[in-house]
């Protein structure tokens, strides 16, 4: 843990060396997500509600997804550059060091600029909580925290799968972006909006609905209380991800020096 914090501070310091460009890329990230949220505001302004959700409920939904993806991207970004680590044979060096492999890969790269989005998500959360979208109880507060942290874990699992694929293909697969960048874009609405088939895929295949759609039903008093604890079940997704990672490591043979 101490080592991880050390790496974190190194990455933050190196990002802060070019202060102007650090803030500009923060601004860039913020503008993109603000635009996405504005599109929700505009459409809701025209239609009033969608699928029975109001604007303040949707902003809660988007804040949760935003916080989860940004946390995952900020701390799990090292895995995104994994294709490069493999093709430049840096992975050999990593394997020689007496520390867990995954830990080292994660420490290779972090994205502190994503913290700007976490901040934005926090502001939106405060607003959504204050606007009376949910009648709050301690249990619901706990569910909200679970949604964010389990959400970040599931997104991290998706990144991990993406990295594992590069063990076999040596090259990033663009089609996987559907599950990497897509959810941030489409998670602005509860996944149930997109119809049953999409909801089923995102419940049982890639369990993103378990951290977003189902617990939201509980928060908005539209479903039973056990829906609220489904985010915990989503953590099961990490098991196949971990297995795939181990399979990938075993399959790995160096690209040479």
């Amino acid at each position: 843990m101490k080592l991880y914090l050390k790496f974190l501070s190194i990455h933050i310091r190196s990002a802060m060396t070019y202060r102007a460009s650090f803030f500009l890329s923060c601004l860039g990230h913020l503008l993109i997500t603000t635009n996405v949220f504005l599109s929700v505001v505009f459409l809701l302004g025209r239609f009033g509600t969608v699928g029975g959700y109001t604007l303040s409920q949707l902003s809660l939904c988007y804040a949760v997804i935003l916080a989860a993806t940004s946390l995952a991207e900020c701390f799990g970004r090292g895995i995104d550059a994994f294709g490069r680590i493999l093709s430049e044979a840096q992975f050999d060096r990593i394997m020689l060091r007496p520390r867990p492999l995954l830990f080292q890969v994660l420490c290779q790269d972090m994205k502190p600029t994503m913290l700007a989005r976490v901040l934005q998500a926090a502001v939106m959360l405060v607003w959504a909580i204050g606007s009376g979208a949910v009648s709050w109880t301690p249990a619901k507060g706990l569910v909200l925290a679970l949604m964010i942290f389990c959400g970040a874990a599931v997104f991290f699992g998706v990144y991990l799968i993406n990295a594992c694929v590069t063990f076999f293909t040596l090259e990033h697969i663009e089609a996987l972006n559907i599950f990497m960048d897509g959810p941030r874009e489409y998670g602005k609405y509860p996944f149930g909006i997109y119809g049953k088939p999409v909801l089923l895929v995102l419940t049982f295949l890639v369990p993103l609905a378990l951290v977003q759609h189902w617990p939201l039903q509980y928060l908005f008093d539209r479903g039973p209380a056990w829906y609220g604890f489904l985010p915990v079940a989503s953590l099961l997704f990490l098991i196949p991800c971990g297995l795939l990672w181990r399979m990938g490591v075993r399959h790995y043979c160096s690209t040479g020096s």
Binding site: A20, S21, L24, S25, L27, G28, L31, I32, T34, N35, V36, L38, S39, F42, L43, G45, R46, F47, G48, T49, V50, G51, I173, E174, A175, N177, I178, G182, Y186, Y189, I193, Y194, G195, V198
Partner: protein
């Protein structure tokens, strides 16, 4: 003219090498388009009267947007050009007996056309097989199609003119990143990339329509899906011509004045 044509061809050929990437990109585009349509379907079911166009017209807009994505996305900057200005290797380019602005323009057009030509056909074929109102409606009157093609050409000039304007700006500012970040955000919102312009609220929509970003994908896509009737086409296309000319002129001017001031260091 011939030398610019060969720059254009070189770029086209280089981009056509990456067929695998195009195929992968295509499947992404199909899924994204599908999700987008499912989303608007939810709004449509909620209240069809508040829909500013028919569901089929909207589906057509979204599928065409996915098919031609690489033609008009602003964020597809040519980092080679930006780097060459920043690091000074633009000096080599200046030695060539060709106009710098013309060369860049040929590169920009070539890259965009090559990427789009690979991606558009499968997206168009698959999406036109989807049953109405969620598929791409290809049957339109031939005169509409002609106007659409003309609007596409104008759109391409506006998009490349805008990119060129940003490249030329690099001669004058040390870090073009701020302009780039703001352009991408503005184009997303004002150009109808996230939400088609007719869905924007009153007032804001009229403002957006005047910006150069609305002269990009917004015009040809809405002519094709019938949202802009042919009687209104001359007006919006006139605006396209204005922005194309203005951006090309400003970009050319900035390049010329930038080159006059530029001092290349080193030997």
């Amino acid at each position: 003219m011939k030398k610019y044509w060969s720059f254009f061809k070189m770029r086209l050929m280089a981009c056509l090498q990456y067929r695998g990437a195009a195929l992968a990109g295509m499947s992404t585009q199909l899924v994204w388009g599908g999700m987008e349509i499912l989303l608007y379907r939810a709004f449509w079911l909620e209240n069809p009267e508040r829909f500013p166009m028919g569901m089929e017209a909207l589906s057509t807009y979204i599928w065409l947007q996915q098919a031609f994505l690489t033609l008009f996305v602003i964020w597809d900057w040519d980092y080679d050009i930006l780097k060459s200005v920043k690091e000074g290797s633009v000096a080599y380019e200046l030695l060539r007996p060709a106009n710098l602005y013309g060369m860049w323009m040929a590169k920009c057009l070539g890259t965009r056309l090559a990427r789009a030509s690979l991606r558009m056909i499968p997206v168009i074929v698959v999406s036109s097989l989807i049953p109405a109102p969620y598929g791409l409606r290809l049957r339109i009157p031939p005169e509409t199609f002609g106007v659409f093609l003309l609007a596409m050409v104008l759109m391409l000039l506006v998009v490349c003119g805008y990119s060129m304007f940003v490249y030329a700006l690099t001669f004058h500012v040390t870090d073009p990143n701020g302009v780039m970040v703001l352009s991408v955000a503005a184009a997303d919102l004002l150009g109808g990339a996230i939400v088609p312009l007719p869905f924007l609220p009153e007032g804001f929509r009229q403002f957006a329509a005047l910006t150069p970003f609305a002269s990009m994908q917004n015009v040809p896509l809405r002519i094709f899906n019938g949202n802009i009737p042919l009687s209104e086409a001359p007006g919006v296309m006139g605006l396209q011509v204005f922005w194309a000319v203005a951006l090309l002129a400003v970009g050319c001017g900035l390049t010329r004045s930038g080159l006059r001031r530029a001092v290349i260091m080193g030997g």
